[in-house]
Every structure is written in structure tokens, then in C-alpha cells.
Symmetry: none
Subunit: 294 residues, 2 copies
């Protein structure tokens, strides 16, 4: 039988490169590991590691197991901590995934009253996902997903939590600042600042630049909103952000928000969850709170 220990060993050996180091992490002797993996391979009938001199490397079967381990072990340990919380009378941890960089500020405004209303529920926010936000949701890596792209898969449900307009943020003294709206062509001689996300996931490209066949003068990626807008303020480029976020910063920095195109770009943010989690009270409460926040 393939046991949890085996997966843990495979993961540890992969992390450390050697049996000895892995043994130290797992608080057993090297000998024990050697025995265990030997027995595992005997049971499976196939080699999991290739012994090459004094090093070992995973076989195809081993790689498959490593993949399995990386998938299952976090779920097991999360389950354990959740059960521990249950044992202590706490409600649990709400793990929120973010696929919408600028929504962070909005999220904070929802999390704050939530934490107040549910003192025994913790909140954790994650932003990087190997298989995308939906994958993380389906893989029980997160419990809630904040995203502009709902993906209606079986077992998931998405609810819109707010509408907003995507606008262009420009330096206040820029020639673009006063206009009623900017055309895509105007960006030809501007530097575009965005979060480090693939262009096909950026609305400024998919809904504005690409349809017009326009490429900005340059494209720079920046992690944080604050720095990004500092850059805009100092005339180093322009950025596309939600209007509510832009207007907040307009108070603090010499920048202006301008409508994108004649029609503007309308966006919606969704909150996704597993339908099987529908009975979790605090999760429903969070969604309700998010809708009210609007």
C-alpha cells in the first residue's frame, strides 16, 4: 500500500537531493529511509529512484509519485490543521485566492469586517497558482477565488460581487489627462505599466490595444500598485486600473484617470467557490459580505 510516509519521503528526497539529508528532515536515520524505499519499490514492482553512484534520481514512476505527493500532502496537512482548529473550537481558515491584482485593496475592505464578525475564522490570501486559480479551487488549495474570469466548471459556482470600469491612469500634466477618453492609437508613444501577468490576461490588451492593432512604445511590469502609480506620477508611463482604485490614488498623487475608448471598458469581479462547501457558514457569510460591500 502506498502510504503517506512514502509520499513524504519522495518529496523530502527530491527537496534535499540525498537520502541522508531527507532522513534528517524526517527525523529518522538514513538507514530507515533506505529500508522503506527498498520495500516500497519491492511492493510496486518498479524502481522509483535510479541509483547513480552515490546519488539517486527519480525514475518516471518516481516523478509520477512526486507529482502525486506534491498534490496530496498539502491537502493532508491542511486537513490536520483544520481538524486541530475544530478541536479547539475554532471555525477554520478561509483561504482566498486572488487572480486580480488590483482587487487586493477591495479585498482588504471585505476582510476587515469579516474578521471582526468571525473572530474564530482566520483568513489567508494566496496569489500564485501552478494550475491557475480554478485549478487551485478544484484542488482544494484555496476555498475562495477572486477573479475577473469566471469559469463555469462542474462543482464550482461563481457570483459577481462588483462592477467597475477599467480606466487609464496618466500623469496629471499629461496631454491625455484632460480628455474625455483616449483612443488606442494614443498609447503608441507611451510606456505601458502593468502587473507581471501574461498579456492575454490583461484587459488593456485584449479589449483595447489588440482590437485596434496597437502596440505601446514599451511595456514594463511592476509588482505593486503603489510603485506603479509613483512611476505614472513621475511621467514614466501609463497604467490601466479600476476606476475606484485610480480615484483613491488621485487624491494622493498628481495623476488622472481617463476613460478607455469611446465606450469605456466595463469589468466585473467574481467570487468563486466549490458548491460542496455551500454548507460552510463562514464561507457563505464572506460572499454575502462581499456583495454588500458594493
Amino acid at each position: 500500500m502506498l502510504e503517506r510516509t512514502h509520499l513524504a519521503i519522495i518529496q523530502a528526497v527530491d527537496n534535499h537531493g540525498t537520502l541522508t539529508a531527507a532522513a534528517k528532515q524526517l527525523c529518522v536515520t538514513q538507514s530507515a529511509l533506505s529500508h522503506t524505499i527498498r520495500k516500497l519499490e519491492d511492493k510496486l514492482g518498479t524502481a522509483v529512484w535510479l541509483r547513480e553512484g552515490r546519488n539517486i534520481r527519480l525514475t518516471q514512476a518516481g516523478l509520477y509519485l512526486l507529482n502525486l505527493a506534491n498534490r496530496l500532502l498539502p491537502q493532508l496537512s491542511h486537513a490536520e490543521s483544520k481538524l486541530k482548529q475544530m478541536a479547539h473550537g475554532e471555525r477554520g481558515t478561509l483561504r482566498i485566492g486572488m487572480e486580480c491584482h488590483p482587487c487586493y485593496q477591495w479585498l482588504l475592505r471585505v476582510v476587515s469586517p469579516f474578521l471582526a464578525g468571525w473572530p474564530d475564522v482566520d483568513v489567508d490570501v494566496k496569489q500564485k497558482f501552478q494550475f491557475g486559480g480554478v485549478g487551485a479551487l478544484l484542488g482544494y488549495e484555496i476555498d475562495l477565488l477572486v477573479t475577473p474570469d469566471p469559469f463555469y466548471a462542474a462543482g464550482l459556482c461563481f457570483e459577481p460581487v462588483f462592477d467597475y470600469e477599467q480606466v487609464l491612469v496618466v500623469p496629471r500634466k499629461s496631454e491625455l489627462a484632460g480628455r474625455q477618453y483616449v483612443k488606442a492609437e494614443s498609447l503608441r508613444d507611451h510606456i505601458l505599466l502593468t502587473y507581471p501577468v501574461a498579456p492575454d490576461r490583461l484587459d488593456i490588451y485584449t479589449q483595447f490595444l489588440n482590437p485596434a492593432g496597437v502596440v505601446p512604445k514599451r511595456h514594463k511590469t511592476i509588482e505593486t500598485t503603489d510603485i506603479m502609480l509613483q512611476m505614472v506620477a513621475s511621467g514614466r508611463g501609463v497604467a490601466a486600473l479600476p476606476r475606484w482604485l485610480a480615484e483613491e490614488y488621485c487624491k494622493k498623487l498628481p495623476i488622472s484617470a481617463v476613460q478607455l475608448g469611446r465606450a469605456g471598458i466595463a469589468k466585473q469581479i467574481f467570487l468563486g467557490a466549490r458548491t460542496s462547501d455551500n454548507n460552510i457558514e463562514y464561507l457563505r457569510a464572506f460572499i454575502a459580505l462581499a456583495k454588500k460591500q458594493l
Copy 2:
């Protein structure tokens, strides 16, 4: 630690309703289950079942664990059956390395029936190797190497899979087209088109031009066979290719194949594998298929 057994027990008890029935399914005594679940509850610090008279029912925590079990156990057992198949060589990925550009067409004719015969084995073809094809084979980057240059290293074995003649492909209206064979000197005023490979790995150099001390007028490299022969057809140069491949294209393009030198250049293609992989059924099957294809 939450173990696989625990999840299995939770699932079995839920299925059968009683400990006794679950014990029977799991091939242990009722007593053993009783002990195990008791210890689990002690470790977790929370009850998993509610004892109601002589029946037991899952608690909130138990329901959570049941959910986890239903999710994880199938993955584990699926992994086991997949590994069993891997052990029997029924399933896996055959990673083929190519060191012989024109052989691609030949390979396709072998891969096609192979995929049909081994529905659970995937095929992946790689063409670039940091340390050469043999290095990739020894480094477990690939499992099979298609090459014109066998390299008899320890732990590797090469088998010839087909013979062919390397010929010069020229425009049909070229003065070289009608000849019985071309001399190396004739290439002095022709442009030579080859795949982008180091000259010391090109037979046209090592076996034909270099021995005669001849350098072609120019040397251009082209990635794809189709384009290369389009170039030949339009009089932009000549190329060296296997006769079987050249003759296929002669039907479609105004080009001709001419023997290289008085004796011609005989070549052989080998299939290399690690001897340690000799027990992998589908790998042996592929080699057998390749030989039959001849």
C-alpha cells in the same frame, strides 16, 4: 499523523454503517478498528464519531474527513494501478531523441502503428540535446535515440533499423541532374543547403567533401525539409538527403537525386537504448516495430 488507513476506515464505516461490517471489508477484526479509531481521535483531539447506543455517526470533523477520504483515496488507488501498469511496461512515456533530421518522416511511420498498439503509452520526440544524443540517453533525458552514429558505450545498445543511401538532390534542369554520379569537385560552384547541424556531423562533409578537400561555394542552413527542397527546386542550391526521402519529393518537385561519388554513400540508422531498460515491454516493442517497418 493522518494516515491512509484512517481515511479508508472512515470511508468503510460510512459505507457499511457499522464497525463490524467495515472490519470485515478491511480484513481486520472489529477490535482492531476500535483501537485504531480510538487512537486517531486521541491524536486529533476531537471526536470523529458520535456513539449513539450501538450505532455510530460521524461528527462534523468526521464528515470533513469523509469528504477528504472520498477525494484522496481514489487518487491513491488510481496511482497504484497506474504504477502497476508502469511496472509491467504497459504504460509510460516513450521519449525519443532524434539526431537525424530527415528521419523524422520515417519515425512518423513507426510511431503511428506503435500508438495504435500501445494506447497507454505516450510518445514524446525531442530534437535538441545539451550533451548530445548519447548524453541525453545516459542522462535519462530520453529513452530511445534515433541516430546515424552508434556510440558503443557501456550500458547502451544500438541496433540498426534501416539502410539507405545518401544522395545529392539537385534541380531537375541542372547540369548535374542527368549524371550517374557527382564528384566532390562539382560542388565547388554550388550552394550547399543543410540542416542546422555542425559540419562534422554532416556526412556530405565527412564522407564526401572533406576527403576531397572541397569547400562548396556557400553553405546555408535550413530547418525544414520542405523549404530546403523548395529552394533546391528553384535553383538556389543543392542538398544531401536519404534517397528514399529524396525520391518522395521528386514526385512533387522538379528535382533529381544523384549518387554521391563513384561508390555512393551508404548509411545506416540505429536505434539506441539503455540496456537497463531491456525489461520495459513497450520499448522493446517499439524497436521490434522499427525493424519490421524496414
